[in-house]
């Protein structure tokens, strides 16, 4: 019968229409500003810089090595290295970026900078409500806009942050163990030529914590 296919199709649209009142499977829209979907852990939008501790200047993990600047496909990262080394939050002397800008009107959220960073200093943020009336100025994020504490990283990407913290902790312990061994060796070497009981200024406790 001619028109049978059309009637069948109409039946299908009717089923979908009335089904949308009964089944969540058929009604998938979310009324966005009022309703929001749950945050997905893997989601990424634009990068941010992680700092440890409470001071965003001292705790910044970034050491201005400029690898991300070179690897960034659309070249949206701009870094100027500071001239002098500064102590970071564990007291180690490191370079820090004097200027760290990301032009998020150019950034394409590809996550390459995160992957190439050897210091776990740059991570992907999940903020997406970034609209502004100014096309250039407010889409150019500077160091201040970009820094976020490690606790924020834990909040948005818990499992990745836990993994990173574990890795950094293990590295730190390795460095500490090495420093301890070196200190012990030094103490021994210092102790060897002098038979008199040497004072112990270089005990393991003095290694950087």
């Amino acid at each position: 019968m001619l028109g049978k296919g059309i009637l069948k199709g109409m039946g299908e649209t009717a089923r979908n229409f009335f089904g949308s009142y009964a089944s969540e499977d058929r009604l998938v829209t979310v009324q966005y500003p009022e309703q929001r979907l749950p945050q997905i852990e893997a989601m990424r939008n634009f990068p941010f810089l992680v700092f440890d501790g409470t001071d965003p200047v001292q705790g910044l993990r970034c050491v201005a090595c400029q690898i991300c600047e070179k690897e960034c496909p659309p070249k949206c990262i701009y870094i100027v290295k500071d001239s002098a080394k500064k102590p970071d939050y564990i007291g180690k002397l490191q370079f820090q970026p004097k200027v760290f800008d990301i032009d998020i009107s150019v950034c394409m959220s590809c996550q390459i900078c995160v992957e190439v960073c050897p210091f776990d200093a740059i991570k992907m943020n999940v903020e997406y409500e970034l609209s502004s009336s100014d096309r250039f100025g407010s889409l150019l994020l500077n160091k201040q806009d970009l820094t976020r504490p490690n606790s924020y990283f834990h909040k948005i990407h818990p499992s990745e942050a836990a993994e990173v913290d574990g890795r950094l902790q293990a590295e730190k312990e390795k460095v500490q163990a090495k420093a301890r061994l070196e200190a012990e060796a030094k103490a021994k070497a210092a102790a060897a030529p002098k038979p008199t009981p040497a004072p112990a200024p270089l005990t393991p406790a003095s290694a950087p914590a």
Partner: protein, 209 residues
């Protein structure tokens, strides 16, 4: 499928006067290719397309490549008697390899499901003699791809039925995929934090404003 050496022997028997060279490929996939002289390229290609053992009826890909002029330095050692003493002398000879443009055709067989047989055609130089025979009369699949190479590399394909620019606009003069192509500075630069880009754009618009 036969090896390239076997194909070469058979082609040279079937197309008198054709000179074919097997070009080795250093990568682990070992896709070697055949360099064909330009006068016999169409006949060789017709043979490959129609030969019942090969039946390369499907042209998958046409690639243009720009090879700039290279200066190869070869070091040679020789022993010579100078002032009555035999000495070893190191000599470096410079060899100039003239630049050329190349079109690479990847041929497969849909009927016999084998491949690829890779054909290479080379122009005599990069300036005036950038002419190659078109294989579009045999494989229509080359039509747009050869047009693209004409557009982006400037190889003129003799015998192409409709050789026009395909991606750039008709009044565009240069060939952007060439290695020595210089970007025009009237490009509409987006402001980025990269000073050199902004500076170039500023310099360009300076005289007019």
């Amino acid at each position: 499928m036969e090896t390239l050496e076997q194909i070469k022997t058979r082609v040279e028997l079937a197309v008198p006067g054709a000179s074919l060279t097997v070009i080795q490929n250093g990568s682990p996939c070992a896709q070697h290719s055949i360099l064909v002289d330009n006068e016999h390229a169409l006949e060789v290609a017709r043979f490959l397309q129609q030969d019942p053992q090969l039946r390369l009826d499907y042209l998958s890909n046409v690639t243009g490549v720009d090879w700039l002029e290279q200066v190869l330095q070869e070091k040679s050692r020789s022993r010579r008697v100078i002032d009555g003493v035999e000495r070893e002398i190191e000599e470096t000879t410079e060899k100039r390899v003239p630049g050329y443009l190349e079109a690479i055709y990847h041929l497969y067989s849909m009927e016999l499901k084998h491949g690829p047989v890779i054909l290479r055609l080379r122009t005599s130089d990069r300036a005036k003699g950038t002419v190659l025979p078109s294989l579009t009369p045999l494989w229509r699949g080359a039509e747009f791809q050869e047009r693209e190479i004409f557009d982006l590399y400037g190889i003129r394909f003799e015998g192409h039925p409709d050789l026009r620019r395909i991606l750039m606009w008709d009044s565009f003069a240069d060939h952007p995929m060439r290695k020595d192509y210089v970007e025009p500075d009237d490009y509409e630069y987006e402001p980025t934090p990269h000073d050199e880009v902004l500076e170039r754009a500023r310099q360009h618009y300076l005289p007019r404003t």
